[in-house]
């Protein structure tokens, strides 16, 4: 009798409690975030998420006065990097080398000079002399991680990690969930997403929609691509046909960090699936800067990336293409 009760108790203790869905959402980094996770109880709270976000802002945000990245930009030589700056900085350097300099987190002064930065645009296009002067303080070859320090060869070198900080933040929030033994979750911030596991109790995989740059997709959801994902990160970068007319010349907002001049390519949007959101976010930016042929060659050398591209044909119409691995994830190819 006593034994029977004991074994019943054992059974009760060892049987996992049913998983419930928990949702957290809020504002961060100039955009919004949303987290869904399945757990027996609300083991991760909004306070923990906010704390994590605040910590990242204090390290990587250019909008946060006194942040570590702002200290670095003000410093002559460099700063002692914290965990966040070290991880994101080394990822930026890795992708810089991997893309032969097309992805460059130091390009910001040139972007500003051509009028695409956050500050008020200049009245006229920069002169060749100005560009030469700016090029001297641009280039990730002047940026180094030495031990715990992030250092620069030129005092005026400025770092801008906005393009990949969101992806990294998604990874940090995913890690927060993992530390609390959560294995089924979706983390989204600013349209950058990372998932693991499945939805409960249905056992369905996570379903992620890809927003088309032409937003008539909203009226006809069938046009929107939807993929099923169990593990990984998916991010999108887009060119909003953002042009600036300076004098008689219409300039695209892509700037070649090596020449200092704007260029146009046919890319409209790039969606990347990778193991983690930092990687996906870095490569979606890099691929936006390649032409279609160059991107396809690059992707053959990077089987770990699954990519969906929307581009503009010479006749102005939009077309899309995807790597074969990506096509396999499409719900209705």
């Amino acid at each position: 009798m006593v034994f029977g009760l004991f074994s019943l108790l054992m059974l009760w203790v060892t049987m996992p409690a049913p998983l419930q869905a928990f949702h957290l959402s809020g504002h961060a980094q100039g955009t919004t975030y949303a987290i869904t996770y399945y757990a027996p109880d609300s083991v991760v709270t909004k306070e923990q998420v906010t704390q994590q976000l605040t910590e990242i802002d204090a390290s990587l945000s250019l909008y946060h006065p006194g942040s570590l990245i702002n200290q670095f930009n003000e410093a002559r030589r460099g700063v002692l990097a914290d965990r966040h700056l070290k991880i994101v900085g080394s990822a930026a350097l890795r992708v810089y080398q991997d893309t032969d300099g097309l992805f460059d987190a130091t390009v910001e002064p040139l972007v500003q000079a051509w009028g695409f930065g956050p500050q008020a645009p200049p009245a006229a296009a920069p002169t060749p002399a100005t560009i030469r002067a700016l090029l001297a303080r641009v280039g990730s070859d002047k940026l180094h991680l030495r031990g715990d320090s992030l250092v620069k060869d030129v005092p005026t070198l400025r770092l801008d990690l906005n393009g990949i900080a969101q992806g990294y933040t998604v990874d940090v929030l995913a890690a927060l969930l993992e530390r609390h033994c959560i294995r089924d979750y979706l983390v989204e911030l600013g349209g950058e997403i990372r998932v693991r596991g499945r939805k409960w109790p249905s056992g369905e995989r996570w379903r992620v929609g890809i927003e088309r740059p032409d937003t008539s997709a909203f009226a006809a959801p069938a046009l929107q691509q939807i993929i099923d994902l169990t593990t990984g990160a998916i991010t999108t970068s887009g060119n909003y046909r953002k042009f600036r007319q300076v004098g008689g010349v219409k300039n695209a907002h892509l700037i070649n960090p090596k020449t200092g001049y704007p260029f146009q390519n046919e890319m409209i949007s790039v969606t990347v699936i990778a193991r983690d959101a930092l990687t996906a976010d870095a490569y979606d930016n890099a691929l936006m800067g390649m032409d279609l042929a160059g991107a396809l060659v690059f992707l053959r050398q990077h089987p770990e990336l699954q990519v969906y591209l929307i581009y503009q044909r010479p006749n102005g119409t939009a077309a899309d293409t995807a790597t074969s691995g990506f096509q396999r994830l499409l719900l209705n190819p």
């Binding site: 919004t32 927003e211 008539s216 009226a219 998916i234 909003y240 892509l254």
Partner: protein, 407 residues
């Protein structure tokens, strides 16, 4: 590449970005390579509206050159002179003298409603290009005659100043209606309320009827003509329709100050072909709603302000979109607190509707194209307003007649 600040364009773009989808005309407007020849223009009527348009013209120095200003009140001419930076505008007490000036190619007419027809007719006969303030005419017979006159003069532009719908926001809304965002629209709610007498202060005693012409039925179509006509015009244009049956009521319910036009009106309109009901109201005795414009359909609602629009999908529509757990995209769908999505029109901040209207006026003249707000749409709206006022003041139910449809 980190060559843009996401935060920056997240603020400027949104889900319903329609910048690429504007009608060709407006794309041309945005893509202005400065055209060589300016249009020499005169302004007839330098009251609030005339001066407002004069200010907008200051922002379009590559398109218009103001060389004449007409008003019978000298202090208005003095005020207008101060706004006109170039200072090339000659002053005329009599608009007919301005029309006699050969060099003036185009005129803006911003006089009290009862004068619209006479001045517009004189301007057309003088060979001018005409931008005529709304409502196009005081009554239906005048609208019919102005249409006839304009049609006899195909080389002259007559644009009617329903400026709000010239905003890219309103073009986008028209497009969204066509794309089916709203589903079947059955109800449209429009208000334009204020808590105030709607009177202008008199600079000199004795000018009551000239300054506050809106208070007198002899000169004005009241709240329906001055305010509700914009929304009536937009619905006609967006749905390519007209009212079939109009009911109305109203009264001088708060400001018993000698005015004749009502300070509180309500109009109910049946659009038979569309199966829609339009509710149009204006009061001078409550400001809570202010400007309100809601289009309600089976799939969603659009709520419009002058320069802001929000799309609220219905529950069933939401479910359709909710089949995904997340959406990746660089613009990212952002819902506001009430579950609506801001309607945006591209990275450029919206300008005043009159800026777009006058830019289109320029294009219509230069390319001899019919403006979007033209004599025919203006006449249909003028007829709607006239019928609305008949219904309001006579307590009748007014019916549309085929001859009001104009073509």
């Amino acid at each position: 590449m980190t060559n843009f600040a996401r935060r920056d364009f997240l603020q400027k773009t949104g889900l319903l970005t329609g910048g690429l989808l504007l009608p060709n005309g407006l794309i041309d407007v945005f893509a202005t390579a400065p055209m060589a020849d300016k249009i020499k223009i005169g302004i007839i009527g330098c009251g609030d509206r005339g001066k407002g348009l004069l200010k907008i013209l200051q922002e379009l120095p590559d398109k218009f050159e103001v060389i004449g200003l007409a008003d019978e009140l000298p202090f208005r001419l003095r005020d207008a002179r101060k706004i006109d930076k170039a200072g090339k505008g000659k002053l005329y007490a009599d608009y007919r003298a301005l029309l006699d000036v050969r060099a003036i190619e185009a005129v803006i007419i911003a006089v009290p409603l009862h004068l619209h027809f006479a001045v517009a007719k004189a301007a057309l006969l003088a060979g001018k290009q005409v931008f005529l303030e709304k409502t196009m005419t005081y009554d239906i017979p005048q609208a019919q005659e102005l249409v006839r006159l304009a049609q006899q003069r195909p080389n002259q532009t007559l644009q009617v100043g329903h400026q709000y719908r010239y905003s890219p926001l309103y073009y986008r809304v028209k497009e969204m209606i066509a794309q089916g965002y709203l589903g079947k629209v059955t109800q449209i709610d429009c208000r334009w309320d204020r808590n105030g007498s709607w009177r202008r202060p008199l600079p000199e005693p004795g000018l009551e009827r000239q300054i506050n012409w809106r208070m007198y039925r002899e000169y004005s179509g009241g709240l329906a003509a001055e305010l509700l006509s914009h929304q009536m015009d937009f619905i006609n244009w967006a749905f390519d329709t007209h009212a079939d049956e109009i009911m109305g009521t109203g009264g001088i319910d708060y400001y018993k100050d000698g005015r004749e036009t009502y300070d509180n009106v309500q109009v109910m309109v049946r659009y038979a072909r569309e199966g829609m009901i339009g509710n149009f109201g204006a009061t001078c005795a409550n400001a809570r709603d202010g400007y309100l414009f809601k289009l309600k359909g089976t799939k969603g609602t659009i709520s419009l302000l002058i320069d802001e629009g929000i799309y609220y999908p219905e529950k069933e529509t939401l479910k359709q979109y909710g089949t995904v757990d997340g959406v990746t995209g660089a613009t990212k769908i952002t819902w506001n607190k009430e579950g609506g999505i801001p309607i945006t029109t591209g990275a450029e901040p919206l300008k005043d509707g009159s800026w777009y209207a006058l830019s289109d006026f320029y294009r219509a003249i230069k390319e001899n194209k019919t403006p979007d707000s033209n004599v025919l749409t203006g006449a249909r709206t003028a007829c709607t307003v006239h019928l609305a006022n008949q219904a309001i003041y006579n307590h009748t139910i007014e019916k549309w007649r085929p001859e009001y449809s104009f073509s």
